[in-house]
């Protein structure tokens, strides 16, 4: 009788303490996130500053599109288009070649499966400089230096491995029962793949394609070495603002914002796959 209200109030206290703790964790997380994102926000702010005010660290300025307009007049749009073409081309090609291979690896035990997995892992891990040296020499002979097809081929080095690895995981997570039923009814392996497995794995294909696009779009090293002027991609173009035209901070910031926007947009679509950790390494099942 006497202990009942006490128990209730202690339970109430515990619940309140849990609520306070949760509030603290959420507040802390929000503050931390803001601190982590502050440098990105600063870049965005900088891109809207008039050129005279770029150096001032105050937040009081009249936003202007002058930096973006200056970019539109130069060679930057062409570089941006190059980035788009190389990334899209490599993504499409990797999906076309890689998705059937991933399906085969997921549904059939090849004797070499373990070795193929190791090969793909090492490909994912190898330093790009190891690829650029032979690619530079061979491309020089083939006339592929400073061309979009050349970049597309180079991006296959990481994209194909990414597609095979992640799509194998997606196919493996789809129960094979429907496909087995189709096989028993006499449907061929690739008809079954097209009619049953591929539609079921469509979200996975989309997510993998987006990751491929981001990886190619983000590339700096290969494009720096294997392109000059014709096929120069947007990330390399930004660096050129730093070296030749002095330090045009406003233009650099505006170009940076333009390069990061597609990536942010795409990341938003695949965030659930990334947050689940499954695709974070581009490689874990």
């Amino acid at each position: 009788m006497t202990c009942k209200p006490a128990a209730a109030s202690s339970a109430g206290r515990r619940a309140r303490r849990r609520r306070v703790k949760r509030g603290l964790a959420q507040g802390g997380a929000a503050v931390l996130l803001l601190a982590v994102l502050a440098p990105v926000l600063w870049l965005m702010l900088m891109s809207f500053r008039p050129s005279g005010a770029t150096l001032a660290a105050t937040l009081a300025f009249t936003p202007t599109l002058a930096n973006y307009r200056a970019l539109a007049g130069g060679g930057f749009p062409a570089s941006f288009a190059n980035s788009l073409m190389a990334s899209t081309g490599s993504t499409v090609l990797s999906l076309l070649i890689g998705v059937p291979a991933a399906y085969a690896l997921a549904r059939h035990r090849f004797r070499a499966s373990g070795r193929i997995a190791m090969w793909i892992l090492v490909t994912r891990m190898a330093p790009p400089v190891a690829f650029t040296i032979p690619f530079f020499l061979v491309f020089s002979d083939l006339g592929l230096i400073d061309t979009i097809p050349g970049l597309i081929v180079v991006y296959l080095t990481f994209n194909l491995a990414l597609v095979i690895w992640t799509m194998r995981g997606f196919f493996a997570s789809i129960p094979a029962a429907l496909e087995e039923a189709a096989w028993i009814d006499g449907a061929g392996v690739w008809t079954t793949f097209r009619r049953i497995a591929l539609p079921l794995a469509a979200p996975g294909v989309a997510a993998t394609g987006i990751l491929c696009f981001i990886m190619s779009w983000n590339d700096f090293f290969f494009a720096l070495i294997l392109t000059r002027t014709n096929a120069m991609t947007a990330p390399v173009a930004i660096v050129n603002f730093m070296q030749y035209a002095g330090w045009e901070w406003g233009k650099i910031a505006a170009a940076g914002v333009l390069v990061l926007l597609p990536v942010l947009a795409f990341t938003f679509f695949v965030r659930s796959y990334l947050v689940s950790g499954g695709m974070a390494g581009g490689l874990k099942e």
């Binding site: 994102l37 990105v40 549904r107 891990m125 020499l137 491995a161 690739w190």
Partner: protein
């Protein structure tokens, strides 16, 4: 029936092989072929200045001897170890701490988690620009704020002492979300019973982490650390934009050293030898990763 099913399984194997072969052929052409060519180049003194130097196999191990006994390669490896230790260490600590903070089910925390992905998915060149801005006293909001308090510290990235830690800090910012994601994914799969049991036993927050949660996330954490370790060897845009290997050679880590020797000084053979040594190191780490990955509970 048995004969029919064998014929059928042969047919199936053939069909699957047809799907696999194009990918393996392309993968061979773009990865295995270049890798073999890289090793071949590393056995020659190839440089565009001397025509025919690419076919000179008279002293096949000269590049490797030079790398291992002349000091600058050792120096770069040492720097690499220093940079990797600092960045991977900080990323692990920060990644685990933030994962623990965010580890609760709510819409709000889901949104925050997505926000933390941003540094990791940003184009590395944009990350480099952002930190170039933060580290350049003329345009940096940080320097401006310090200036308002009368503090005028020197530029970090031009200081022989602080250039490497400055790069490590930027790299940590870029990649701690990766460790955070891996740890969060592991924490989510953790059963509730041990946590409840420890709570009833009156475990403190620290005990809860050290004796209950950490043992559970350890396999995922090991995989994340190895991934980051291998990737930290490849860090390029940050160094290219922030310090260009300098001042002097204090930030010329192995990857950057290989880049400068090959593409600035045109010592193709020597650069290829360094790259070959790097691939060998990465291969060893990948073997370790594959072995550990096989025993991680979330990998089965």
């Amino acid at each position: 029936m048995a004969a029919g099913s064998t014929a059928w399984s042969i047919e199936q194997r053939r069909a699957f092989t047809i799907g696999l072969v194009p990918a393996l052929a392309v993968l061979t052409a773009v990865t295995l072929g270049p890798a073999i060519y890289l090793v071949v180049i590393s056995l020659t003194p190839l440089t565009p200045i001397h025509p025919g130097s690419g076919l000179d196999f008279s002293t096949p191990f000269a590049n490797y001897r030079q790398a291992l006994f002349e000091g600058s390669f050792d120096h770069s490896v040492w720097l690499q170890c220093e940079l990797s230790t600092i960045t991977v260490g900080l990323q692990t600590l920060l990644g685990v701490a933030v994962a623990l903070l965010l580890n609760s089910e709510s819409r709000f925390m889901d949104a925050v988690r997505t926000g933390f992905l941003v540094p990791m998915v940003l184009p590395p060149i944009v990350v480099a620009i952002i930190w170039k801005i933060l580290y350049t006293p003329d345009v940096s909001p940080v320097y401006a704020m310090l200036g308002a308090f009368g503090l005028r510290p020197g530029a970090l990235i031009t200081s022989p002492v602080w250039a490497l830690p400055a790069i490590a800090l930027a790299d940590t910012w870029e990649w701690f979300p990766f460790t955070m994601l891996m740890v969060l994914a592991a924490l989510r799969m953790m059963p509730n019973e041990p946590i409840e049991a420890a709570r009833i036993d009156g475990a403190s927050a620290w005990q809860m982490f050290w004796y209950v949660r950490l043992p559970f996330i350890r396999p995922a954490l090991t995989v994340a650390v190895l991934f980051r370790l291998i990737d930290s060897i490849k860090a390029f845009p940050l160094i290219y934009v922030l310090t260009n290997g300098g001042p002097g050679q204090v930030t010329e880590v192995t990857n950057y050293y290989a880049f400068i020797q090959t593409f600035n000084f045109a010592y193709w053979g020597y650069g290829a030898a360094i790259a070959t040594l790097m691939v060998a190191g990465v291969f060893a780490l990948s073997l370790l990763l594959a072995r550990l990955g096989a025993v991680a509970p979330d990998d089965v």
